[in-house]
């Protein structure tokens, strides 16, 4: 850990039950801004492009862990408005390969203390994540992954259909189901968090450390001096920067294009939907690789349902209704009682998919320009961990051991980290 960690939060007014009561007496007219809306300065030590969870976390840890406070986060729209605010909020770390497991586990551990760290309730609810197995092949893959997880020190177990039924009584575990449930892996420490709160909590924390969060500021160009980055052109003028970190998910190829290189990434729609809110009926998170659906119930009562990605490239933030149809078919088969519930809202995000379904976090062909992208469908669960290692990479100029394997060069050397099958989606 860096020497400057533990710097007290200087400007943030503390949230607590007491401050809530005190402010209630004043009709809530005295709450301060959660973050400022400053005008951009002419120059920063570090400019982070992208005001989603990952970008804000990067800025927060740059300031807190590395003492780099002259930082701007540039967001073309509203902060947390991309995939952070559009995902199905599942958090887990039960990945197959050591490299992935270490990175996601680091993130999960940060999540476990994040509400206190940020003094902002991100509602991390460790309600357990189940991955269903529907055939012998699934069971074998689950066993392999769970054993690897356990040897890596990550909590993971396999449940019998009876044990699953005890946790998810409404699940169709009939042996005659079209997709019978033979078993499931369970990570009890996995769960969900309130996605917006993660972005807002990091924003408030970063702001308190002096980071400038600049919304409605679109980066339109990356200025280079030879091999080195100098700054960014934006819709609000040129901003000079000693270092630039780009963490823009689905738009990473566009930014890479501005810097003069290409990425091994395609941007795809990923769709999700919520049902109307109902009283608590589903208390865990259920994912099924085979049928491409995952479902949890939010604190508001909505069933939050995710689908597989659409096959084609798109920046449209919407996908094919056929994908939603297939996802709901699988859902109703797994949960027959959901048939009479109703879809309230559907939407799409733009996910940046790498050929090996693992992210790229590190250096680029341009000096002092760093990219963090390729999270595909798995970005939300990595938010604090991703920001933490990316901050380290930017601050020191070299990757942390946790993200060292996740280089761009692996697509030249072939040292891929193939996590296909890690998510409930076929990439």
């Amino acid at each position: 850990m860096h020497a400057t960690s533990g710097i007290p939060i200087v400007t943030m007014s503390k949230y607590s039950i007491f401050s809530l009561v005190r402010n209630a007496l004043g009709y809530h007219e005295n709450w301060p801004l959660a973050w400022r809306s400053p005008e951009p300065k002419a120059e920063y030590d570090v400019v982070i492009v992208g005001g989603g969870g990952h970008g804000l976390a990067t800025a927060y840890y740059l300031a807190k862990e590395h003492g780099i406070r002259n930082v701007a986060v540039l967001e073309k729209g509203w902060l947390g408005g991309g995939n952070t605010g559009r995902n199905t909020t599942i958090i887990r770390s039960n990945y197959l390969w050591d490299e992935s497991a270490a990175l996601y586990e680091h993130s999960l551990k940060l999540y476990e203390g994040l509400s206190q760290e940020l003094n902002f309730n991100i509602m991390f609810s460790q309600r357990g994540v189940l991955n269903l197995a529907h055939n012998l092949h699934d069971m074998r893959e689950l066993s392999r992954r769970v054993n690897a997880n356990r040897l890596n020190g990550i909590d993971s177990e396999i449940l019998t259909p009876e044990q699953i039924k005890a946790i998810v009584p409404i699940l169709n575990t009939s042996p005659t189901a079209r997709y019978p449930v033979l078993g499931a892996s369970l990570q009890r420490r996995g769960g969900t968090a309130r996605h917006d709160a993660v972005a807002w909590g990091f924003a408030r924390g970063a702001d308190a450390h002096g980071v400038d969060i600049i919304q409605n500021c679109e980066v339109t160009g990356i200025r280079r001096n030879g091999a080195r980055v100098e700054g960014v052109e934006t819709s609000r003028g040129y901003i000079a920067a000693k270092k630039v970190g780009v963490v823009v998910a689905g738009h990473c190829s566009v930014l890479a294009g501005m810097a003069g290189f290409r990425l091994p990434i395609e941007s795809h729609p990923l769709q999700a939907l919520v049902s109307e809110p109902v009283k608590p009926i589903h208390h865990s998170v259920v994912m099924s690789n085979a049928v491409h659906v995952y479902v949890s119930q939010s604190d508001k009562g909505e069933l939050v349902i995710g689908a597989g990605i659409d096959a084609y490239n798109s920046y449209a933030q919407r996908g094919s209704f056929a994908v939603v149809e297939g996802q709901i078919g699988a859902l109703v088969e797994l949960f027959p009682i959901f048939s009479r519930l109703r879809m309230m809202r559907q939407w799409g995000g733009i996910v940046d998919v790498c050929p090996d379904a693992s992210p790229i976090i590190g250096k680029t062909p341009v000096e002092n320009l760093f990219f963090n992208c390729g999270w595909g469908t798995g970005g939300f669960k990595a938010t604090p961990g991703s920001g933490w290692v990316f901050a380290h990479t930017i601050a020191t100029g070299e990757p942390h051991p946790l993200n060292a394997p996740f280089t761009l060069e692996r697509f030249t050397t072939g040292f891929l980290i193939d996590e296909h099958g890690a998510a409930a989606v076929a990439h």
Binding site: S143, M343, T413
Partner: protein
């Protein structure tokens, strides 16, 4: 049973000859055919219908249609229970049972009402600021928050009804059958275009069903009937009622949810409950009307505060009086028609409070002048008073352009307050279509601007609120849509005539100011309990983007999608920020427009019909002898054939030994089969396989690996040269589809110059493998004519013959390692040939075997399957590097030369034997020391494991790093999952007959 005290004796579109009985919260009421649940409840004087989401405040019916935020009920019971239905959209039927939601123990006395008392401590987003201590305590608090949240209860039983999907195509889709939609459908229909007209309601007419206007000198409804009749008579027009257009997707795909049987106690036999139409339209006309906005003032959520248009609809369409004495509060002229409807229906109006100092236009003024209702212009209702429901309202004068209220307040008694804050065009579908919205200052609302798809809006949906404009705009939009779809509109279709009503413009008043030094709840979003003060709090804390406002306060996130609240909330935010509304922006409207039953979306693809099940041509034979089946992808395969009283392992061991010692037969019809033909077929194989193919003789087979371009193995399999330019390829079961797609891709896009044709023939050929030392004898006994000895059918040879009079293809190849043959025959003859072979093998004790025995046999021989070829392995991992052509390119070759694959540390294929006779666990990881501190270094993993009856021990195949170094060494197959850490000896991957002599015979 109570009478219907608030029902007018005459008028309305209800059928008084058909009384219906229904129950709400256990009490029995009556209504009439034509009622909605809401109108019937109002007719019975039921004003308290629900509790709000957060504060559990008492709530009544506000609206008469899709915009209703409060009156959500659970309908029906048992397995047909359905939560969160809007009472305003539920058609009444006899025996209907409904109950209120989100209250305990009862609607009238709700414990959750404590939240209202504590509401001061529960502002927007309060949960982000607390429940954080001690760490990890959130889950404790969360339990209570979850229990308090949610609305209705989900059913606990499976759905007894079924659903349908229907695909439809048309030239012009008209959404909405009000004045504009009917006109559009008429103009388009007359042109000959295929028209689909959809409307949410049970009958045509839209807003005209609660209107007193005249069209073409007849009552509006007579005109509706006439147009409806004309459209019905046109063969090219299809009318769907009870059908809501819910989603507008790419390239004019519109989903329409038709409620086929929701107005019945249960669907008729053979009738779906709902049907989802997927309509592709060349052109779309959106005639979706407009939705009235409420006004925002203190206590505006009290039961008895209703939208003026809804009160008018209840009065005219349902003959229901919504109260005994009314006050009308408005900022526009439309509410004055509510005044005339109330007065005409016997509900006295105490006052009209109009925020506009100059009052309304002439037509509206005529209504109040003739009825003598007191008018308070330039005034506003600053608060609704009452505990259970409205008993009076407090009115004050507005000053400084509506920014404050002034003077003495005056209290006016009433039990009904009709409010109108202007109209929002229903732009949801337009917005879903990616069309851009424009803020219209005159209308104080968002209207469609540039279209993004082949679509136009008509009537109130585009901000033309007057009836005459709707009729005219509908005709124009319908004719234009037909023309753009390639039809010629007929000249004789003219817009219907009606009187033009001059209205004074609406004057925005987004929130009525609170009198000085007063606090109160002014609700913006009734369903989610978001107040004007919450909007101010969000702004104060920096949640200043519209999306932040929504997410922080939950404004507009309810089941009504903020139909009555979005624009008010946005405008209040703009006011706080001293900004104009367009620059604050608007939120995106997401599909569906109205919630859609999940069952309707999946339709008939449920249960067994969710995905196809593939059966072997010999399936019936296996089933007939009582085989145990297992799912492999979409296939159902025989896992093993247990004899009576035989356990699974016993059966498997018996089958394995039968193959090793005598002969067995297994169904391999699921293997992928591809015919590769053309003069360049051999050259094509040369490019897609790692090994050599051009030198393969006709009548010979060869085993090969196929790589992806990134160097990893796609599949393995055997391909046979049937004729010079004709190869017959087999793939693994799982990869049949991907291999076919892979080959087609290269044949068509990369090497189109090659003369090669690919045909998947998986379903055309049945396949069976006979294996074991006596397999040749069985084959010889079965084959009609022709020798099957080593001469004519050597190892890896191919022969065409006949069995049971049927042509067969014989391949001498082995998966078990024994002498073995594959027999392929046209699928329809599968059982015939199988039975012939069984009969021929009887004397040799032929034993049918399943996938489990097949798996044991191949593990004993170290043959790879999908468990090893998992997309992460290369040929060298299995010792097949010498198979790779050195002198020419093939798919994936260059990738194998990259550092990671050429000389990176790779795990290689080994065999494992249990050291202490214990079972080697499935999915185990190979470790040096299972009790080492975590993370325990993993050296490899077990890919396949089984009990070998031939070795009398447990064996496994694995991928292991430094495989050569660990040869002969002891490692642990570690499975923390089963808490077993089995010592295993590392050895060669082939356990039986390493020289391969048995196969060659």
């Amino acid at each position: 049973m109570t009478s219907q005290p608030f029902r007018r004796l005459e008028g309305g579109l209800i059928d008084r000859d058909r009384p219906l009985t229904f129950r709400f919260d256990g009490s029995t009421f009556t209504g009439y055919a034509g009622d909605t649940l809401a109108s019937a409840l109002l007719a019975n004087g039921v004003t308290l219908v629900g509790r709000s989401f957060k504060y559990h405040r008492r709530r009544g019916i506000v609206a008469a249609g899709v915009e209703e935020p409060n009156a959500l009920a659970t309908l029906r019971e048992g397995n047909r229970q359905e939560p969160n239905l809007r009472a305003t959209q539920v058609e009444l039927f006899d025996g209907l049972t409904a109950s209120s939601q989100n209250r305990w123990p009862s609607l009238d006395f709700d414990v959750g009402g404590i939240n209202n008392i504590l509401s001061r401590f529960l502002p927007a987003g309060f949960y982000y600021k607390t429940f954080m201590w001690p760490a990890g305590a959130w889950m404790f608090y969360e339990r209570f928050i979850r229990a308090a949240a949610g609305l209705g209860k989900a059913p606990l039983l499976g759905d007894p009804d079924y659903y349908e999907r229907r695909h439809a195509h048309c030239d012009v889709l008209v959404v909405g059958a009000g004045p504009a939609g009917l006109s559009a459908a008429l103009a388009a229909g007359r042109s000959g275009a295929r028209v689909i007209l959809v409307d949410d309601n049970a009958a045509l007419g839209g807003s005209l069903r609660g209107d007193t206007a005249t069209i073409n000198e007849v009552p509006a409804l007579a005109w509706v009937d006439e147009v409806g009749g004309t459209l019905e008579a046109l063969e090219n027009v299809r009318i769907l009622t009870r059908a809501t257009a819910v989603g507008y997707y790419d390239q004019n795909l519109i989903t329409v949810c038709e409620r086929v049987a929701d107005h019945l106690a249960r669907p008729d036999p053979h009738q779906p409950r709902q049907r989802l139409w997927w309509v592709r339209a060349k052109r779309v006309v959106l005639a979706t009307g407009a939705i009235e906005r409420p006004l925002v003032f203190a206590n505006n959520d009290l039961p008895g505060v209703m939208l003026a248009s809804a009160v008018r609809t209840y009065q005219l369409q349902y003959a229901v009086k919504c109260g005994r004495r009314a006050v009308v509060f408005t900022n526009n002229d439309s509410a004055y028609s509510c005044v005339s409807a109330l007065m005409g229906g016997g509900v006295p109006v105490s006052a009209v409070v109009d925020t506009r100092a100059s009052g309304p236009g002439d037509a509206a003024r005529k209504i109040v002048d003739s009825s003598g209702v007191e008018c308070l212009f330039g005034h506003a209702v600053v608060g609704a008073l009452g505990r259970q429901r409205v008993t009076s309202v407090e009115v004050m004068a507005l000053a400084d352009g509506g920014s404050r209220v002034t003077g003495r307040s005056r209290v006016i008694d009433c039990d009904l307050l009709c409010v109108s804050g202007g109209w929002n065009p229903t732009v949801h579908l337009f917005s879903q279509s990616q069309g851009k919205l424009r803020y219209d200052e005159g209308l104080t609302s968002f209207v469609p601007d540039a279209s993004s798809q082949a679509e136009s809006s008509a009537g109130a949906a585009r901000g033309e609120l007057g009836l005459d404009a709707c009729l005219r705009g509908g005709i124009e939009a319908g004719a234009e849509a037909a023309r753009l779809a390639g039809f010629t509109p007929t000249e004789d279709v003219e817009a219907a005539r009606c009187d033009h009503v001059d209205e004074a413009p609406v004057e925005a008043l987004w929130a009525v100011p609170l009198p000085a030094r007063r606090h109160g709840k002014r609700f913006v979003d009734l369903q989610n309990d978001v107040t004007a003060e919450d909007v101010a709090l969000a702004d104060r804390e920096g949640y200043q983007s519209v999306e932040h406002l929504k997410r922080y306060t939950t404004l507009g996130m309810g089941t009504d999608q903020g139909r009555t609240s979005n624009v008010n909330g946005l405008a209040i935010l703009a006011g706080l920020r001293d900004s104009d509304i367009p620059s604050v922006g608007t939120t995106t409207f997401r599909p569906p427009f109205n919630p859609v039953t999940l069952g309707t979306i999946t339709a008939r693809e449920v249960g067994a019909d969710l995905a196809p099940l593939r059966l072997s041509p010999m399936h019936d034979w296996h089933a007939g002898v009582g085989a145990n089946f297992v799912t492999v992808g979409l296939w159902l395969r025989t896992q093993f054939y247990a004899r009576p009283g035989e356990a699974m392992m016993e059966a498997i061991n018996r089958e394995v030994l039968a193959v090793r010692n005598a002969v067995g037969m297994v169904d391999v019809s699921t293997l992928g089969k591809i015919e590769i033909q053309g003069r360049d077929a051999a050259e094509f194989l040369e490019r897609v396989y790692i090994n050599r193919w051009t030198n393969l003789q006709v009548g010979r087979c060869r085993y090969g690996f196929m790589l992806r371009e990134d160097g990893f193995i796609l599949d393995d399999g055997t391909t046979t040269r049937v004729a010079d330019n004709n190869f017959y390829m087999t793939t693994t079961t799982a990869q049949a589809g991907p291999v076919m797609a892979h080959l087609e891709y290269y044949a068509q896009t990369v090497w189109p110059e090659l003369h090669v044709h690919l045909t998947s023939v998986t379903d055309q050929w049945a396949g069976m493998a006979i294996a074991g030392p006596r397999s040749r004898e069985v084959l010889a006994a079965a084959c009609e004519g022709g020798d099957v000895g080593d001469e004519s059918l050597p190892f890896m040879g191919y022969l065409e013959s006949r069995i049971a009079g049927v042509p067969v293809r014989l391949f001498r190849m082995t998966f078990s390692g024994e002498m073995a043959y594959e027999v392929h025959t046209p699928s329809d003859y599968g059982i015939r040939v199988w039975e012939a072979l069984m009969a021929a093998g009887k004397d040799f004790a032929i034993t049918p075997y399943g996938t489990e025995a097949m798996s044991v046999l191949r593990i004993e021989k170290g043959h790879v399957v999908g468990a090893e070829l998992d997309g992460r392995t290369i040929p060298a991992d299995f010792g097949f590097e010498r198979m790779q052509k050195k002198d020419r390119d093939f798919i994936g070759k260059r990738s194998l030369e990259r550092p990671a694959l050429a000389y990176g540390p790779r795990k290689r294929f080994v065999g494992l034997i249990s050291e202490d006779g214990r079972k080697i666990p499935r999915g185990a990881q190979l470790v040096w020391n299972p009790t080492a501190p975590k993370p325990v270094p993993m050296l490899g993993h077990v890919s396949s494991t089984c009990y070998s009856p031939n070795l009398g021990n447990y064996i496994a195949l694995a991928l292991l790093e430094d495989a050569d170094g660990y040869q002969g060494k002891l490692l642990y197959a570690s499975s923390p999952l089963t808490d077993s850490h089995v010592p295993v000896r590392v050895g060669h991957s082939v356990f039986i007959d390493p020289e391969g002599e048995r196969a060659r015979g």
